[in-house]
């Protein structure tokens, strides 16, 4: 148990160091763009496909119940609220934790095992600033963007499922989806994914950058990155939802 607190403390210090270094020169713009493409662009197909499928499945599941109560007209509203408030941010974060978190953990652990990190340090380059900070920034910035793609592809999937069942027009679907929607339903849940992104980047980088177990550490770092970041994302989600309700009472349904 003590070990868990010790690691939590180390990760917190690691994240704080990254946050401070993010505002110090040099700003590693090229590396951030490269990592953003790695995290964001390459995750896009996974996020869009997952969002579309989830949207369709959710409509198929909820439709029969809502029709029974004569509430078929609220299906688009339910879909929009569900995706923008919770499914989009959470599922995107978990998908990225799986795809990107494991990748960052494994790459950095491999660089440690093959002395590439020592190589960078020996050239008087700050390896933490060069390797860790851009990855964390990229995760932090990419998550909200990916979440938007998840939200809208979920709506699109829901629309196709609804259209197949009721021939509802796209214009009416979108109108009903956003008729009761407020900005406070959109911004806080979308921006909370920055916290998820920072968490994924920090945890994955921590386990990869600090490993000292050679080749064996590569697999361990990848696994630990996914497990720890997924768990922490779910726990943080609870806290952030309470915080959002506190700061934006209008967003509570």
């Amino acid at each position: 148990m003590f070990n868990v607190f010790e690691i939590a403390g180390q990760i917190s210090r690691f994240g704080a160091r990254a946050a401070i270094n993010a505002f110090r020169r040099p700003f590693e713009g090229a590396e951030i763009v490269r990592q953003f493409a790695e995290v964001g662009w390459k995750s896009l197909p996974l996020v869009i496909a997952s969002g579309f499928a989830l949207g369709a499945v959710m409509t198929l599941h909820t439709r029969s119940t809502l029709v029974m109560f004569g509430a078929a007209a609220v299906i688009p509203t339910v879909q929009a609220f569900a995706f923008f408030l919770e499914i989009g941010p959470l599922v995107t974060a978990l998908l990225v934790a799986g795809r990107v978190g494991s990748g960052i953990g494994a790459v950095l652990a491999d660089m440690r095992a093959t002395e590439q990190i020592d190589g960078i340090e020996s050239l008087s380059i700050d390896s933490f600033k060069f390797l860790v900070v851009p990855r964390i920034i990229a995760c932090t910035l990419a998550l909200p963007v990916l979440t938007l793609f998840m939200d809208f592809s979920g709506l699109l999937g829901g629309f196709f499922a609804e259209f197949a069942a009721s021939r509802l027009s796209f214009q009416l679907y979108i109108f009903r989806a956003f008729s009761d929607f407020q900005w406070s339903n959109f911004w806080p849940p979308t921006l909370k994914t920055c916290v998820f992104g920072f968490t994924i980047g920090t945890i994955a980088s921590f386990f990869g950058y600090t490993t000292n177990e050679g080749a064996q550490g590569v697999g361990k770092a990848a696994t630990k990155s996914v497990v720890a970041s997924s768990l922490l994302i779910i726990l943080l989600d609870v806290l952030l939802i309470k915080l959002i309700f506190f700061m934006f009472p209008g967003s509570a349904l």
Binding site: D110, Q116, D118, G119, S122, L123
Partner: protein
């Protein structure tokens, strides 16, 4: 720190342990500028750790390490960066960055740490790649290079700042004799043409005999012999004599 001859590197009563394993135990040695020191010893006796301590990739538990007039264990930030730029490090597996081409591997430190223009960087990269015979391979990724080419590429990167001191960790490991002797020749040429101080960790006794002005023999974290090849051959220590391949 220097008495008489200028000393490039000085280890003064240095100890280092990892957990309960004592890797170096009050080790002291020095190397004059422009000479070549080969460190021999059985596996796990602290040879590579010695190199990493020299360039401050590791910190000693006790003792002092001097590079010229700088005590590296006391340095951090810009001071440490300045000292590290005097040192080139050829890693055992070259440690090239997987995701960058050979050109980018060499240009990276110049782009980040100097004010050189692109033309000047291109010239510097071409110069060191020419030195190691890889002038036509700069667009290749590290994964496309053979073992010998990787070593030479690692050496090129180590030389890109024109270092005063070159550290080489097992420069001939995993190479055939011909390629290994080519690497040794490159090290000797660097020493002769640029008066570079060499510190080479190796298991290759014939390479050590060819390259070294002096040999340092480590065993279980202690210096058990130090001197020229002939002095080590006549050392009272049996392990040292065995390692250098002298009379038992």
């Amino acid at each position: 720190m220097t008495n008489g001859e200028p000393r490039a590197v000085v280890f003064d009563q240095v100890s280092k342990s990892f957990g309960t394993k004592q890797v170096l135990n009050n080790v002291s040695w020095h190397i004059p500028s422009g000479e070549a020191l080969c460190i021999l010893g059985r596996s796990g006796t602290g040879k590579s750790v010695t190199l990493k301590l020299t360039i401050a990739l590791l910190t000693p538990d006790q003792g002092k390490i001097w590079i010229d007039e700088d005590e590296v264990t006391q340095l951090a930030g810009p001071g440490l960066s300045r000292v590290r730029r005097k040192i080139g490090f050829l890693f055992q597996d070259a440690a090239l960055f997987d995701s960058l081409t050979l050109y980018e591997n060499l240009a990276l430190p110049l782009q980040r740490l100097t004010d050189k223009s692109k033309e000047e960087i291109d010239f510097a990269v071409d110069r060191v790649l020419g030195q190691v015979g890889l002038a036509n391979d700069k667009a290749k990724m590290p994964s496309e290079l053979s073992g010998g080419m990787r070593k030479r590429a690692g050496l090129a990167r180590a030389l890109v700042f024109e270092p005063q001191i070159l550290l080489a960790d097992e420069p001939s490991s995993g190479l055939d004799r011909i390629t290994a002797s080519e690497i040794d020749e490159l090290l000797l040429r660097q020493k002769a043409e640029h008066k570079t101080t060499l510190i080479v960790v190796t298991h290759d006794v014939s390479g050590a005999r060819r390259v070294a002005d002096r040999i340092l023999v480590l065993d279980r974290g202690n210096v058990i012999a130090e001197g020229t090849v002939s002095e080590i051959e006549q050392s009272e220590n049996e392990t040292a004599r065995k390692l250098i391949g002298g009379k038992e």
